[in-house]
Amino acid sequence: MTAGAPPYGSAILEHFRRPRNQRRLERPSAAHEAYNPLCGDRVRLELEIDGLVVRAAGFTANACAICTAAASILTERLTGATLEDAAGVRDAEMLAALGGEGAVPPARVTCALLPLQALRAALAAWRTQA
């Protein structure tokens, strides 16, 4: 990064400043709150599942810009997705959506993947209940 350049790419800034789906769902079918004990990032992901499709996704975050942006991007990605598709979101896809190589510093990858961790835990809990 050059001196004076913005610290984050446009995707991160856009989703941090104008997060999508930042809301509590009325009747979530699946939910999980993930947190990073070191930095204190917290993100709760909620899903409304209808049959085998994610009808709605929402999140609540007290988290850094990268984590908040990742949650916002992830909920857009999940809305309307099949459960199989939702479960198949990879780390690399998440990092790419945040701006590709270099957009997320290595020390902050944990922040970027925290919402994905919440998604995987929410789906696992939902499958156990179902």
């Binding site: 004990p37 070191l38 930095c39 204190g40 990032d41 609540t60 007290n62 984590c67 908040t68």
Partner: protein, 337 residues
């Protein structure tokens, strides 16, 4: 500033009975509010005060020991009338009326029961009134506890309001927060500590806190966003500050302060303005937080915050910490771990 229940518990550990002096009237000004209490033991041990020390408390203590020995109650007037001090112009000339009565600490006692009942009600969030009714000279005053002023008996001669303590919510279990929690507890505030990190918000670090809450800070804070709450953001991290400020600055809380340098505080204000908060909402934010007393150590910063809380509670105008004394500003987007 322990409440009367804590004072009675402390006394009970070492005394069977004490004289309780209650300030019921003052002429010429009083440093302590009406209702202030001084407890006097048989051997002259003291707890509490009805003035700021000096000659008044000493004289009340003498009366207390005397009345304890005589096992009777009396309404006593103490005048600050030291001749030498008056001639030097070094006396305030005030006059205080005190109700002094022996109370039993380990046997049933109507006054102790009344104050304990009222304090328990206040701790549960309800305002209670201890009503002292007209008394016969020499005999114990009678007391009743009511929760509605309309129920105060017509022969009441003194009514004490025992209100729930003000609540201080500290977000961010930092070193500044740890000292602030201790100071605030001494000042009579109920202290709630909130953080998203359980290894910071521990009972060991916050022994003085009444409540420690770990989870999503913005959600944990929400039930406290009401009249009378003092809110201090001590995390020095926008990830907690922004979600809380969005709600808090639009709520009726009494005080919102944020640990921050001036530059970072302005960045936070800019973001909040862009998100639609009004100038009036944003003007409620005390940032940099605390009175301008200098000092950089966590304990010194905590003291400056505590002083500002008192000033706000007493409706005094407050000066803010200077740029020099504030925590160095960090760029908004980089302050997270």
């Amino acid at each position: 500033m322990p409440d009367i229940l804590e004072q009675l518990e402390s006394l009970r550990a070492r005394e069977f009975r004490v004289a309780m002096a209650t300030l019921v009237a003052a002429r010429g000004g009083s440093p302590r509010p009406l209702g202030a209490k001084l407890f006097v033991g048989l051997r002259g041990d003291l707890l509490g005060s009805v003035s700021i020390g000096g000659c008044v408390d000493a004289r009340v203590a003498e009366h207390g020991q005397r009345l304890l020995g005589e096992n009777r109650s009396e309404r006593v007037t103490v005048t600050v009338d030291d001749t030498e001090a008056r001639e030097l112009g070094l006396t305030c000339g005030a006059e205080f009326d005190l109700l002094i009565e022996p109370i039993e600490l380990r046997d049933p006692d109507q006054a102790v029961d009344a104050y304990e009942t009222a304090t328990r009600l206040s701790r549960s969030g309800q305002t209670a009134y201890v009503v002292t009714t007209a008394t016969t000279p020499g005999q114990r005053p009678r007391r009743v506890v009511v929760t509605d002023l309309a129920d105060v008996p017509t022969d009441a001669f003194f009514v004490e309001r025992i209100a729930p303590p003000d609540v201080l919510v500290i977000v961010g279990a930092s070193d500044v927060a740890a000292t602030l929690a201790r100071l605030a507890r001494i000042l009579g505030l109920r202290v709630v500590v909130v953080d998203g990190r359980e290894q910071y918000a521990t009972k060991e670090r916050f022994a003085a806190a009444d409540e420690i809450l770990v989870g999503m800070p913005s959600e944990l804070v929400r039930p406290f966003l009401r009249h009378g709450t003092f809110l201090v953001l001590a995390a020095h991290d926008y990830k907690y500050e922004l979600p809380i400020l969005r709600d808090a600055l639009r709520s009726p809380v009494r005080y919102v302060g944020m640990l921050s340098g001036r530059k970072r505080a302005e960045s936070v204000r800019t973001v909040l303005r862009e998100e639609g908060l009004s100038d009036a909402d944003i003007a409620r934010l005390h940032a940099p937080i605390g009175l301008d007393i200098g000092g950089r150590e966590p304990e010194e910063i905590a003291l400056s915050i505590a002083a500002q809380l008192i000033a706000v509670r007493e409706n005094k105008s407050v000066a803010r910490r200077s740029e020099d004394a504030a925590i160095p500003a960090a760029p908004l987007a980089r302050s997270s771990a």
